[in-house]
């Protein structure tokens, strides 16, 4: 019996060749335990060396290989061909980002936004290392742990229609990262980050579609982080209005 095959329809765009993007169809062997990335690697090695894409760890932690797979943002190392077989699989670069070439998107905007939220521990007073670790109970770790799991794969940006319509929106991962530090008992930088978060392009652009959380491969729940940030910002506002003499 002939070996089963599956078709991958891959988005192709090359800046030097000037033309509009197109889809190219590749017929590859079907293996039950192959992920979409294995199929793409097969194409690169055996059929067409010109295909450009990013990948590295192939175990869902480096965040390189996010792609639109049949219209859904996924890590191509975690999307199995068997989920689609025998139908063809359509592979496109992550939605809402400019495309550098083929499946490679431009991530400058995302990298810029990550830095915007000051994702580092901010403290009024640094304690010397000789005094040992900052104490933090397991419950205090749990408070922010979920938001520290973000692998920067940007699937949430590709899932977010608000980001697609309004690219100035700070976006799910950056806000979740801000919350990761805001909720860390060792951190004292919430007021500083609030200047970026509590703005129209910050948390208030979010209309709670919730697809960022659905897309997240590591269960960060960015939608939840944004809603929590909204609640906190609202409480801050009431405190400022009702208790203007109170200590901030």
């Amino acid at each position: 019996m002939a070996e089963p095959t599956i078709a991958l329809e891959i988005f192709r765009y090359h800046p030097e060749q000037g033309e509009a993007p197109s889809f190219r169809r590749y017929e590859i062997p079907y293996r039950e335990d192959w992920v979409v990335l294995d199929g793409i690697n097969y194409i690169k090695d055996q059929i067409d060396g010109t295909l450009a894409y990013r990948w590295s760890c192939r175990m869902g932690v480096c965040g390189s290989c996010g792609m639109m797979i049949n219209g859904t943002p996924r890590l191509s190392c975690a999307a199995f061909l068997r989920e689609y077989f025998p139908n063809p699989v359509r592979v496109e670069p992550l939605a809402h980002f400019p495309v550098e070439r083929d499946l490679v998107i431009v991530m400058d905007d995302f990298m810029h936004k990550l830095r915007e939220v000051k994702p580092w521990l901010i403290r009024g007073q640094e304690t010397p290392l000789s005094e040992g670790e900052y104490r933090q109970t397991p419950a205090e770790v749990d408070e922010y742990k979920q938001y520290s799991m973000c692998i920067n794969c940007m699937l949430c940006y590709a899932a977010c229609p608000v980001y697609g319509l309004e690219p100035r929106f700070l976006g799910p991962a950056a806000i979740a990262l801000a919350q990761r530090y805001n909720l860390d008992s060792r951190d004292e930088g919430r007021r500083e980050r609030q200047e970026v978060l509590n703005t129209e392009e910050g948390i208030w652009d979010c209309t709670l579609v919730g697809e960022c959380t659905t897309a997240c491969p590591v269960h960060v729940d960015p939608a939840g982080s944004i809603q929590r940030a909204k609640v906190t910002a609202t409480v801050d506002w009431y405190k400022d209005v009702l208790l203007p003499w109170g200590k901030r």
């Binding site: 090359h14 060396g49 932690v61 400019p98 933090q136 397991p138």
Partner: protein, 593 residues
């Protein structure tokens, strides 16, 4: 309206020289730590990180189990030193190990102060777990995504330093050495495909290992030994390259790592009869259990070697991707699995189709780590002035013939920081640059890279050469080697090098040409693979991870020495360097008792 609107950007395509005080090549744990150390040592210095991937993609991200440092009151520096030296089969430099163990706690505390989410004891202090080959629990962890948290903490912290520039997705192709000093690199900017000249007063290589020279490895696609090859070509010897670590527990087929923490937390290894076979290979007795530095908490080299013996006895389990044994964590229970090793559960479920709460995990030994690397001194300095190296790409020599699990993340931090500080001091005192000569070198390199596409009648496909190389390495330089297998590997690698000169690329464009990068990576891997095979052929003894079936005994009289492999036009030239022995004379390596 056309939905595919075109925009012009990145208009500046000038060929200017880019100049910094220090260039760090690689953005993983060692590179980021080195860069931060350099700017903190001297805030006036202009430091840049050049990395072929965005830093958070670096392979540090895949480390799972933990990072070792003495912090608990029941532990001592002496014990950590002793464990590391014993683990290395006495091939580690003992002065370096002492410095490493002494500086380790502050480095991990520094990470804590930068926000790393270390797992905690109920009282809020740092929690530690047991790890293979360690006498006392001293491995700090953040569940089982330690490398991930460490890398992201370092990367996020690096963002606050204004004087730190990054060249993300720039692939360094050559070290520019002029007047005996390393004064920069040439690098391909992936986005445009341009070969650019980056000048600096000091260069730090933090480019990671080269697991991809083997077909079955835990290493990500980017681990292609680029920095090792660059240094090697520039004349720096590669040290102790024959020592390649096999991790005992990788998933069959993919080679995905199942962390040693699974055993640290109490997991056991059993053969097809459900028998804890490690007791037959000098790591028992099995009881009392759990016990540190015994059985499943033995060193990686011995556990991987035991697998081979079990397989030869026919006591392993046949599977679609070769024989396996079972890593059983069921007795830990769902709650402990989900708090201590959740990633293990996720990986086993996704990539092996089993739930470790209910079934044992099929595992087999898999190439994991290069103990060898760019020869450096205790400060990360290489024999070329102005060139430093740290992390897996370097061999500062704390790992010797076998690295202990959880020492490598700490190594990245301790020696990344050391290299950063020393490079900062060097850069402050060597301000001149030979600009004209460097520009000429960079122009030649650009020509060489442009000529790689095979337009002049090449026929060889890089994927094919890569497959043949990895097969030769697996067959010739695996867990057990002998003269015949090694000589054959050396011969095959030589012919592959000749064939590499005749490669042909499908992609002859410039923007994000990943096929060209793959070709350059293959060229690097061929250099590194040759250094591994020839170093292994020359070492006619067995030590740690280097097991010669034709020379099964350790031979301290002849080989208590580091191997140094030098690049030549033909086969590598092999030389030796004495191991630094201070207070711990070589002895028998004993586990289980």
């Amino acid at each position: 309206m056309n939905p595919w609107q075109n925009t012009n950007s990145a208009a500046d395509q000038m060929h200017e020289m880019l100049e910094h005080d220090i260039l760090v090549i690689g953005g993983g744990a060692a590179g980021l730590r080195a860069a931060i150390a350099a700017v903190q040592t001297n805030p006036r210095l202009n430091v840049a990180i050049v990395s072929k991937v965005y830093p958070m993609r670096s392979h540090t991200v895949s480390a799972e189990g933990g990072a070792a440092a003495v912090i608990k009151s029941n532990d001592s520096l002496e014990e950590h030193i002793n464990d590391t030296i014993t683990g290395s089969d006495w091939l580690a430099d003992q002065d370096v190990v002492e410095a490493f163990v002494r500086e380790a706690p502050d480095e991990l505390l520094q990470l804590e102060h930068w926000g790393c989410p270390w797992s905690r004891e109920p009282d809020g202090s740092i929690a530690v777990r047991p790890f293979g080959g360690m006498t006392i629990e001293r491995t700090w962890f953040a569940a089982d995504k330690v490398g991930f948290h460490l890398l992201h903490t370092l990367f996020q912290t690096s963002l606050k330093f204004e004087s730190l520039t990054r060249y993300d997705e720039w692939f360094a192709t050559k070290l520019l050495v002029e007047n005996g000093r390393c004064q920069g690199v040439s690098a391909i900017e992936l986005r445009t495909g341009e070969v650019r000249l980056l000048l600096a007063k000091a260069v730090i290589l933090c480019t990671g290992g080269a697991g991809r020279i083997y077909p079955f490895t835990t290493n990500g696609a980017i681990k292609t030994g680029d920095g090792m090859a660059m240094a090697y070509r520039a004349g720096v010897p590669l040290k102790d390259m024959e020592f390649v670590q096999y991790h005992p527990t990788g998933l069959p087929g993919t080679g995905i790592l199942i962390t040693e923490a699974a055993r640290g937390e109490g997991g056991i290894l059993v053969n097809k009869d459900g028998y804890r076979y490690l007791q037959d290979y000098g790591m028992g007795p099995p009881d009392p259990w759990p016990r540190l530095r015994a059985m499943e908490l033995g060193p990686r080299d011995k556990i991987s070697q035991a697998f081979v013996h079990e397989m030869r006895k026919g006591r392993t389990i046949a599977g679609p991707y070769g024989d396996v044994v079972h890593l059983d964590v069921r007795h830990l229970g769902e709650t402990k699995i989900d708090t201590k090793i959740p990633f293990v559960r996720e990986l086993a479920h996704r990539y092996a189709g089993i739930d470790p709460v209910h079934e044992p995990i099929p595992v087999r030994p898999v190439v994991h780590y290069m103990m060898g690397g760019v020869h450096t001194d205790i400060n990360g300095a290489t024999p070329i002035a102005g060139l430093y190296a740290a992390g897996e790409s370097a061999c500062v020599s704390i790992n010797g013939a076998n690295r202990l699990g959880s020492n490598s993340l700490t190594e990245c931090l301790v020696f990344g920081a050391r290299a950063g500080r020393h490079a900062a001091a060097f850069a402050a005192h060597h301000r001149s640059l030979d600009r004209a000569a460097l520009a000429a070198q960079a122009r030649d390199e650009a020509k060489r890279v442009a000529g790689l596409d095979g337009t002049d009648g090449g026929t060889e496909r890089i994927a094919m050469l890569r497959t043949e190389m990895t097969r030769a390495m697996e067959e010739g330089t695996g867990i057990y080697r002998d003269e015949g297998s090694l000589s054959k590997a050396c011969d095959v690698l030589r012919t592959l090098r000749d064939r590499f000169a005749r490669i042909r690329l499908d992609d002859r464009t410039r923007s994000f040409n990943t096929e060209l990068i793959a070709a350059l990576e293959l060229e690097c891997m061929l250099d590194v693979a040759e250094a591994v095979a020839h170093s292994a052929l020359a070492r006619t003894e067995s030590r740690g991870s280097h097991q010669r079936t034709d020379h099964p005994k350790r031979d301290d009289a002849r080989f208590l020495k580091h191997t140094l492999a030098y690049s030549t036009d033909g086969a590598p030239r092999i030389d030796y360097l004495d191991v630094v022995i201070t207070r711990w004379p070589p002895a028998e390596r004993v586990y289980g008792r």
